[in-house]
């Protein structure tokens, strides 16, 4: 799974195993198809390196945390992303 432009700091499977989320120093988190390795989404918005990512237990949300001092919750619908 290639696409990040800087070091990856964290990886995690979705609860059902179908997706993988990665966190990178390139300030993005990315979602991949765990079977094909295809990049499905790039979550941009953090202004610093992304240190960690995790799926919610139901697999519908992702939390990312960053050197920019924020935690962000990402959801399927674009309007539902929030900064904590």
């Amino acid at each position: 799974m290639a696409g990040h432009t800087l070091m990856i700091y964290a990886v995690s499977f979705s609860p059902d195993g179908t997706h993988i989320v990665t966190a990178s120093a390139d300030k993005t988190a990315r979602v991949w198809d765990s079977q094909t390795g295809r990049l499905l989404a790039t979550m941009t918005g953090h202004s610093g390196r992304v240190n960690y990512v995790a799926f919610s237990p139901d697999g519908k949300r992702i939390v990312s945390v960053s050197d920019d001092g924020t935690a962000r919750v990402w959801m399927p619908h674009p309007a539902n992303c929030r900064q904590l």
Partner: protein, 142 residues
Amino acid sequence: MTVRRGCGCRIRPTAGNSERPSGPVNQASFSPDGKRIATAGADCTSRLWDAESGRLLATLAHAAAVNTANFSPNGKRIVTASYDRTAKVWETATGTLLATLTGHAGWVYTAAFSPDGKRIVTAGADHTAMVWDAGRAICLPL
């Protein structure tokens, strides 16, 4: 699942600077029911958030940067691991400190509950992993 590029991310105004982590955030975890998020920050705090509203519910303090915050399997407790050489156990509902796990000779990088919630494993810069009785906060000889 689809997470669209850019996500149309809306920044929620924070109620005050005290609610904003003042340094890098190192790690985060959802509670088992998905309703809470615990963050671990370089500002010496772990913060407990409502995952739906983004409201800050509690601030859990260490004497140095916090590297990990993880929930117990039933969600009622949180264990935090810190560069202050301790791990701490907190009550999720109130933010009350329940126990301080002291014994590592260096930074504590990570901590997690066992699946039954009765034990905690910690790992540190002292090259050791330690297993603790989560209720009595004592290190178990292994």
